[in-house]
């Protein structure tokens, strides 16, 4: 679960990380009355998960209440424009009205899980305000990393060392170890996958402030934080994730693509290989779908309907490696599912192995489906039927 800026900053504030004064507002009116009540120099920032708000004109200055109202209206009027990762863009439902900082320096600080080292890693750069990938490319010498021993956790020397190695401006030195420590506490307490302050601002008057907040939580650890469930409901869940949850498969088990060959397999690795097989055969995949363990009628039906009703699939390629389950049982599950479904019918190509697989294929053929013997053959058949 990715948090919005204002949610991340709430966690930051609770953890003791300095953040700008701010107010989270849902309407231009609310923005106006907040600025009326607390005059000053403010910034109005769209609250969305997508990056690139600045370039999209979704961060704007407001010197007074009427200006605040106007820019909020403008920001809320249109969604974030689409990009490659978010082909549908993202609607904007609220803004953060925030103290405008007089910034002298912008640095970068993040903590994430390093897969290869199998440790938390702190990353600091004296250059902030741009993507970390851009920093890595343009200023590699400014990147300092520290792999944390989980038996020890954070200790202030880590912050001091990183501040020196990353070449942070001396103005950061006094505040930085405590801020990095608070960020680590937050990372650890929530079992986060990423916590990022970018930029970590040094203001003209010498304060060190988290000017933005990015927090990526681990869905598998959310059950330990029921206090966040409200946010969870409020977040613009990825549509594929909503659909997957609705069909009763794992949140990561379904993903749509623009093609017309629907796919389903048992196991994520096999599901990826199935997609690859369809591509290899010259087809265009409509989706990734891991049906998970077991392939009873209800589950197959849910998955079939998930694909048929939500993608451009004109054929459905089912690839089941019945490791432990029996082929005839799976076949019966599929046939029953197709009898029960009330959704539109598209042709099924079914590759099925496991004990009693010949019997399974016979059952499928009798029900008018296309049983095949191998994954490659199935992919070819499916592509053929789709076009």
């Amino acid at each position: 679960m990715n948090l919005m800026e204002h949610q991340g900053k709430t966690l930051f504030r609770d953890a003791g990380i300095p953040v700008p004064r701010s107010h989270h507002a849902r309407t231009p009116e609310e923005v106006g009355s907040f600025i009326d009540a607390t005059p000053g120099a403010w910034v109005v920032k769209a609250q969305v998960l997508m990056g690139g708000r600045g370039k999209a004109g979704k961060i704007k200055l407001a010197g007074d209440a009427s200006q605040g109202r106007a820019v909020a209206e403008e920001i809320l009027a249109t969604p974030m424009p689409p990009n490659r990762q978010n082909p549908h863009g993202e609607p904007i439902r609220s803004v953060l009205v925030e103290e405008r900082l007089a910034i002298a320096h912008e640095a970068y600080c993040a903590i994430t899980v390093d897969r290869a080292a199998r440790k938390p890693v702190l990353i600091v750069s004296r250059f902030g305000g741009m993507d970390i990938e851009e920093v890595a490319e343009r200023h590699p010498e400014s990147l300092a990393k520290f792999y944390v021993d989980t038996a020890i956790g954070y200790s202030p020397f880590i912050g001091r060392e990183l501040a020196y190695r990353a070449g942070l401006d001396a103005g950061y030195h006094r505040a930085f170890p405590a801020i990095a420590g608070a960020l680590y506490d937050l990372f650890f307490r929530y079992g986060a996958k990423l916590v990022e302050i970018n930029p970590l601002a040094l203001t003209e008057d010498g304060r060190v402030v988290a000017s933005d907040a990015k927090v990526e939580l681990d869905d598998d650890a959310l059950h330990r934080h029921p206090e966040l469930s409200e946010w969870r409901g409020a977040l613009p869940l990825d549509e594929d994730e909503i659909l997957a949850t609705g069909a009763g498969v794992g949140i990561r088990n379904f993903r749509r693509f623009p093609g017309n060959v629907g796919t389903m397999a048992n196991g994520a690795g096999l599901a990826m290989a199935t997609m690859d097989a369809v591509s290899n055969a010259g087809g265009h995949i409509a989706n990734f779908l891991d049906v998970g363990g077991g392939a009873n009628a209800q589950r197959v039906r849910n998955c079939y309907e998930l694909v048929v009703n939500n993608t451009g699939a004109t054929v459905f390629f089912v690839n089941i490696f019945g490791g432990i389950t029996r082929g005839d049982e799976v076949a019966r599950g599929i046939v029953d599912a197709m009898r029960q479904t009330t959704s539109r019918k598209i042709p099924l190509v079914i590759r099925l192995t496991g004990t009693n697989e010949a019997e399974g294929r016979r059952i499928l053929a009798e029900a008018g489906m296309t049983p095949v013997e191998t994954m490659d053959e199935g992919a070819r058949k499916a592509v053929e039927l789709a076009s």
Partner: protein, 300 residues
């Protein structure tokens, strides 16, 4: 020989009276694995339908049976506790089947259980065909032989093993290392063991998008096992960035973890990469032939 697991391994099942645990304990037992018992707190003193003793704690089970290996079937919030318990009781190798373990739990467990090898979490386990099976793999697709197999996924592994077996390539040990971002045993760690295993004459590696395990193992191969026939496969060429495909660990982040990068790394290390699983046996045969080694399948 084989790696990690053989006839002498004494296996317990943590969570043996649960639905998954009891089902797979029976299957492992049926395969011929030396399953010596299981653990479910509060059910100590009972016996499974196979007559296996149930204990309240792992340390009791180890004291009574001399167990060396444990296969863990417990819900995700309790997986770390189960691994700590196995470690404290002196278990040498624990397979964690559980999917959905919080990544920080795995981080902490991996950092604090020195001396115990962990396979997984979120993995199908491992098999040394003809000797023992620990996990949820379907025993009938495996055949004893000389190919070491390492894979990040479950059913894809069975698919690949099935193809190998049909082509006459038996296996020494097949390890499903797991689909999570942080896992107890990586590709490289498996290869360090295979390197010293006389039974293993060739390797098949099934990688997928996400992380740098495949790149790391490619570098290891180039440096340490360049003389062994190796074939690789990488799943997920069609993955979009920023979204996990099924496995929590199968995610392309920015420029990292792409199938292209992994394929390039394998090829740079002289490892042919199969375009699809069905190509693996033929590629392996040609690698074996090219190096003038006996066809592995023939040695058994």
């Amino acid at each position: 020989m084989s790696i990690f697991l053989d006839k002498n391994s004494k296996v317990i099942v943590q969570g043996i009276t649960g639905a998954e645990g009891s089902y797979h304990a029976a299957r492992m037992h049926a395969y011929g694995t030396n399953v010596v018992g299981g653990v479910t707190p509060g059910k100590g003193g009972q016996r499974t339908p196979q007559g296996l003793p149930v204990f309240d704690t792992v340390s009791e089970a180890v004291a009574a049976t001399g167990a060396t290996h444990s296969c863990i079937f417990v819900p995700p919030p309790f997986a770390a506790d189960a691994l700590y318990e196995a470690h404290a009781a002196g278990i040498a190798l624990a397979v964690c089947i559980t999917e959905g373990v919080p990544v920080h739990d795995t981080l902490k467990v991996v950092g604090a259980t020195a001396g115990m090898r962990i396979i997984g979490p979120n993995c199908p386990g491992l098999v040394s065909p003809g000797k023992a099976l620990v996990g949820i793999m379907p025993g009938h697709v495996f055949k004893e032989g000389t190919v070491g197999v390492v894979s990040r996924s479950g059913t894809l592994t069975y698919e690949v093993v099935d193809l190998l077996t049909r082509a006459g390539f038996g296996q020494s040990t097949c390890v499903g290392v797991g689909g999570d971002p942080v896992i107890g045993t990586t590709f490289v760690e498996c290869l360090r063991e295979f390197k010293n295993d006389p039974q293993t004459q060739a390797l098949v590696l099934c990688g997928e998008i996400g992380g740098t395990d495949e790149e790391d193992v490619a570098a290891f191969i180039a440096e340490h096992v360049a003389d062994v026939p190796v074939v690789a496969f990488v799943g997920g060429r069609n993955a979009p960035p920023g979204k996990s495909l099924g496995h929590a660990g199968a995610i392309v982040s920015g420029a990292f973890g792409t199938a292209q990068s992994k394929i390039k790394a394998f090829e740079a290390a002289g490892v042919p990469v199969a375009g699809r699983p069905s190509e693996i046996p033929a590629l392996l045969a040609s690698e074996v032939a090219r190096r003038g080694r006996p066809v592995p399948a023939a040695s058994f």
